[in-house]
């Protein structure tokens, strides 16, 4: 609680980190479905790439949270 009061924008940052996490989760679900339904390699690669991109975004958000906490 104290941290949140000190850093009012922390909630927003946490929310920003959740968006790529949600993408990762849903793209992984999509990969499972594509495998079940013999989806094309192209689509599978595309979904996997989106997971990788969103991991980067998530990492970036976490970095910002960490910096905000250090201030």
């Amino acid at each position: 609680m104290q941290n949140k009061d000190k850093h009012p924008d922390l909630n927003k940052k946490v929310h920003d980190a959740r968006t790529p996490l949600n993408q990762i989760s849903m793209q992984a679900e999509l990969i499972k479905i594509l495998i079940e339904s013999n989806g094309s390699a192209e689509k599978l690669t595309e979904a996997a790439q989106k997971i990788i991109d969103n991991c980067q975004k998530c990492s970036h958000s976490l970095q910002q949270i960490s910096e905000a906490l250090r201030q």
């Binding site: 929310h15 959740r18 968006t19 996490l21 949600n22 993408q23 990762i24 989760s25 849903m26 793209q27 679900e29 999509l30 499972k32 479905i33 594509l34 339904s37 979904a47 989106k50």
Partner: protein, 444 residues
């Protein structure tokens, strides 16, 4: 095909969500703003809307308001990643609205969409877990309260208890409850007199010395000695052969016994809880138990009520059995209000044991989509009809055929809840004949 509208300004999200939902065989449309969504709703009907709470041109709540004006209201699932929003939505408790939280999995979509299909089947309200009395008995009905009171009273004394109750009422559980309430640390020793052959019964009860009979390769303590300074539970006491009973009387009276093949008397001090599924009058009339033994064992007789006399406990018992089954298998199968009501209309001739088995079967047959048990079409146990006949027959030599016929019609009618067509069919007569008989008997 079920039509689904996704309203969210996050394009990456709507893209992947629509792909997943299309694979799940839904017809999907996407809007990235309130205005777009309203336009979609004007031209098309949607069964379900997945709605973001915060949209660039207003709150998702505006769209909910808008759908309330529509002739066919779609079901709405709000999508939220924010714990605060989650609690606001929960507080709103709108009837056709629920929410899912990010990160979203395929299962969340499936649950949101399937819940609608089963929402008519109301899952029975989950009260607090059924309370266990004496760590083993369940039920808050009046007959059970009386029973608890008796258990409490007698547990602290040293009196022998005779438990009387129909098969399946839980006599051994009540014995366990008395043992728990007594505070005696030594474990309850239990034996079933009905399960022992006449030859073995003496050895089981009083023990034997090595070489006392063929096969007695070692000496063995009987249950009376095992339960010394504790409690002995003798189930189905009335199934003990009458010529064995004098030996039992001696132990009960003098607190001494002589193991088979021994000459030495052994002192035993144990309390006896015995049980029978016969009624007191049956015991007396049919000379099943010697009178002197009866009074020794039944210093404090306790009648355990059959389940049909405490039907209000059925719900708690069902939940208890389901909880245990769910725990064992890591599932979450429930019972609906309708199913509970149906279980309460049945008479349960096999009592709690029968209920337990019916629930176990219904659990195995459970509908996994609805997460509900599936009861058999017919609850009748193969024994129930026969048992009712036995209960009601009171047949004796010299009775008129008319009397017996009358009784048979009465039992059959009560079995089918007064349905005369069904009763006639069961009796193998025409409905007309049944009506004629009923008229002749003055409608029973």
């Amino acid at each position: 095909m079920i039509k689904v509208l996704i309203v969210d300004d996050d394009i990456e999200f709507t893209e992947v969500a629509s792909q997943i939902l299309e694979f799940l065989d839904y017809d999907v449309c996407v809007s990235n703003s309130l205005q777009e969504a309203k336009k979609c709703l004007e031209v098309e009907f949607f069964n379900h809307i997945f709605l973001d709470f915060m949209l660039p041109d207003g709150s998702g709540l505006h769209l909910i308001e808008h759908t309330n004006k529509l002739q066919h209201k779609p079901n709405i699932t709000l999508i939220t990643g924010h714990p605060l929003i989650k609690s606001i939505i929960a507080d709103l408790s709108l009837p056709n609205i629920d929410y899912i939280t990010k990160p979203i999995e395929r299962e969340d979509f499936e649950k949101a969409l399937n819940k609608r299909k089963v929402s008519k089947t109301k899952v029975a309200k989950q009260d607090n877990k059924p309370q266990k009395h004496f760590d083993c008995l369940i039920g808050e009905s009046e007959p059970m309260q009386t029973l608890y009171q008796m258990i409490n009273r007698v547990a602290k004394t040293n009196a022998n208890v005779l438990l009387i109750g129909e098969s399946g009422v839980g006599k051994e559980v009540v014995a366990q409850a008395i043992h728990t309430a007594s505070g005696i640390k030594k474990q309850l020793v239990a034996t079933n007199c009905g399960a022992l052959s006449k030859e073995l019964i003496a050895s089981e009860l009083f023990g034997h010395e090595k070489g006392a009979f063929t096969g007695a390769v070692a000496s063995k303590k009987g249950v009376f000695e095992q339960a010394n300074e504790g409690i002995l539970f003798l189930d189905e006491i009335t199934e003990m052969p009458i010529d064995m009973q004098p030996n039992l009387l001696r132990v009960l009276e003098n607190k001494t016994l002589v193991p088979l093949g021994s000459t030495k008397e052994v002192k035993v001090n144990c309390r006896v809880i015995s049980a029978t599924n016969r009624t007191v009058s049956e015991i007396a009339e049919n000379n099943i138990l010697r009178e002197d033994i009866y009074f020794r064992l039944a210093v404090f007789p306790i009648e355990i009520p059959p389940l049909r006399e405490r039907k209000s406990d059925i719900a708690a018992l069902v939940r208890y059995f389901l909880d245990r089954l769910n725990e064992e298998s890591g599932q979450n199968i429930q019972v609906s209000e309708e199913q509970l009501a149906r279980l309460q209309t049945y008479d349960w001739p096999g009592n709690v044991r029968e209920l337990k088995h019916v629930i176990h079967r219904a659990f195995i047959m459970a509908d996994l989509d609805k997460q509900l048990i599936v009861l058999p079409k017919n609850l009748q146990s193969p024994f129930s009809h026969q048992k009712n006949l036995l209960l009601n027959k009171n047949l004796s030599a010299g009775q008129t055929i008319e009397d017996v016929e009358k009784e048979l019609i009465k039992v059959t009618l009560s079995e089918v809840d007064g349905n005369k067509t069904l009763a006639a069919e069961m009796l193998g007569i025409s409905t007309k004949t049944l009506y004629n008989r009923l008229n002749a008997y003055g409608e029973l």
